[in-house]
Symmetry: C2
Subunit: 395 residues, 2 copies
């Protein structure tokens, strides 16, 4: 019903026209639409009444009018256009393209309009999503981790966004679908061009149960530069980008770079150092990506876009990062004074041999200090924060 309205709606027809007339993203066109609205913008472009830059960008396609065909095809498949005028437009997710990023990368920006198919709403997906991406040349290890991570994320009501490619992307989508979770695939071509062809059935399932979307109108074929452009949308609609496996030359690092540029958390899963499919992940970890080993690690990074700062103050306290056993040991330490390993074992209920490892990691984290076989908590009061800062560097 939405689709049948769209066929006659002049604004929708204008959006559809504008979506094809330039290769996205095009900040000149976005600026014009921002000033005069889509209908007037489409009219001016069609008649060539635009400034030189935009005239050059639209020259080749301004006389092409596929609008009726495009909207009919979309309606036939049960899809929809998502425009900035719609409630479904993920305003907060795309806000990250403004501000400092717009100054640093003036030639990028949010999509003009999105072609979408599937029951999931994009604004709801973007409120709580993680991108799970990686190399097409995945190992069995990587595919297992991607599927397991995706299943775990959906178990925490986190939607799994990826690029629909072979390897890690496909495993992530499948893991989410198999646990009845929401998954979204961002395409680098039109909705009617399933790519890669071997994933036609998978993409069909995602369109039936999750969400397929793209900034390209029907018939546009994926090309190298479109994958790069598409990656910014994978990063934008997710609170965190997790690279599961990537070689040093993998394009997955491009999605990670977009995530960082957009202020999203970049995370990577480590793997065997003997596996070249994990070397890109290790390189990302060296450059400051968060190390994640399970869905719970990712969930803590995924907040509601724009509310992140309120919901989850970051950087959190070191205590937030403890494992259960570490916390058990930490909490077994006396509030005042020190305790021996045996005393800590008794109060924690762990065997003495199980206490030492956690204690040492707590010491590395600057939370406890041991001396002469006795261990005590390092307290951080408001006026001790500076002191603990130096203790944490020391210990």
């Amino acid at each position: 019903m939405r689709a049948s309205i769209a066929l006659d709606d002049p604004a929708r027809r204008a959006w559809a026209y504008l979506s094809r007339v330039v290769e996205p993203p095009c900040h000149e066109l976005a600026a014009l639409v921002g000033c005069v609205g889509p209908i007037e913008a489409a009219d001016r472009v069609r008649r060539g009444l635009v400034d030189d830059d935009l005239a050059r960008r639209t020259e080749a396609r301004r006389e092409i009018d596929h609008v009726a065909d495009d909207l009919e095809l979309l309606a036939r498949r049960g899809g929809r256009l998502i425009t900035p005028d719609d409630d479904e437009w993920p305003v907060l997710a795309f806000r990250a393209f403004g501000g400092a990023l717009a100054r640093a990368k003036p030639r990028t920006g949010p999509p003009l309009v999105l072609w979408a198919l599937g029951p999931a709403r994009l604004d709801e997906v973007a409120q709580r999503a993680a991108a799970v991406v990686g190399t097409r040349a995945a190992t069995a290890y990587g595919e297992y981790i991607a599927a397991d991570l995706a299943a775990g994320l959906t178990g925490h009501d986190v939607a799994v966004v990826s690029g629909g490619a072979y390897g890690i992307d496909g495993a992530a989508h499948r893991g989410a679908l198999e646990s009845d979770g929401i998954t979204a695939a961002v395409l680098a071509g039109g909705l009617d061009i399933p790519y890669p062809a071997g994933h036609s059935a998978l993409l069909h399932r995602i369109g039936q149960r999750g969400l397929l979307f793209t900034e390209y109108p029907p018939g546009v074929r994926p090309a190298r530069h479109r994958f790069l452009t598409r990656n910014r949308l994978v990063a934008a609609v997710a609170g965190a980008a997790v690279v599961v496996e990537a070689g040093l030359r993998s394009g997955a690092a491009n999605t990670a770079a977009w995530a960082r540029a957009l202020g999203r958390v970049v995370a990577a899963v480590p793997g065997p150092v003997t596996s070249s499919s994990s070397s890109g992940c290790h390189a990302l970890l060296r450059h400051g990506a968060e190390l994640v080993t399970r869905a719970e690690d990712v969930v803590e990074f995924v907040g509601r876009m724009g509310e992140l700062a309120d919901d989850q103050p970051r950087p959190g306290t070191p205590l937030d990062r403890l494992t259960d056993v570490q916390r058990q040991v930490y909490e077994a330490l006396p509030g005042r004074g020190a305790a021996t390993i045996d005393e800590i074992a008794v109060s924690s209920g762990l065997a003495p041999a199980q206490v030492l490892g956690p204690l040492s990691l707590l010491e590395v984290a600057g939370l406890v200090t041991g001396s002469d076989g006795r261990w005590r908590i390092i307290r951080t009061g408001p006026d001790q924060a500076a002191a603990q800062g130096s203790a944490a560097r020391l210990v």
Copy 2:
């Protein structure tokens, strides 16, 4: 010959007596020796003419005199005492026990004296060494990495220090020995008590070709607290401590904590997130340990003790951390202006498809910036350092 002199030398006899009279480390005894020298200190302890604290610490053993037996056993095996009076004493390595650490952990300190066996000189080992440590419950992956890392380190004239235990320690020692490198095992008991018994032959080989040393006199059996005390020496004589595999409850984290406390680099090797033997490594990496995947990564952290700050300014520039391919791509970028992927491919000699991954990682590292398919270097002049700081956070 050194050994036969030792039997008659009153200072050596005093050191040998002092080595057994307390359970090390004992800062009260170290302070007394520092004030009056070993001969006078031994005499006062023997006669009980010391303050209450030291009297209590030495009460149980002050009448035990094994000096002649100990020194004869040492001479018979071809070993030696290493004392602070000897050239071989690693002054710079043990200096780290002073200063802030001495104030934070007053009840620890350098060893009083060391019992040693083997052709390698401790001062030379400590000038350029890495500790390679980990769990006894190692996997085949961990043992392979430990041996390979150790072999690679010795190929760069880095000595491999470890604890002689089953699992990672043993694999590291073996890897060093098999590539004719220097390896040192720090024992938690006397030189005459090979521990674990299953490593008798390995420890024997280390004593013949590398170095065995311990602060415990002959006959002392390893005990749990002695492993912890021993770990501080493993950390102290190496410029970096590398944890190859460790469970969350592994004692290897204790060596890492000592390394951090002593101002050494703490590094860890990642592994499959499905392997509990790598979870301790992943926890260390989350807490700031350096991620290493091969010997070359470790070599850059291992300087000559005390000269590290001069030889290798740290933190280094981000350029220091590039892989060969990343550097190749970085250097293919024009000095001024921007280049497309295809232009970078031509000047780097790489295929266009090989350029993107490295470029994205360079972007994550804040070294280059891409916009609209064109890439440029981000320059850091003295007055642009602050600007790049914020760019690196942004991108």
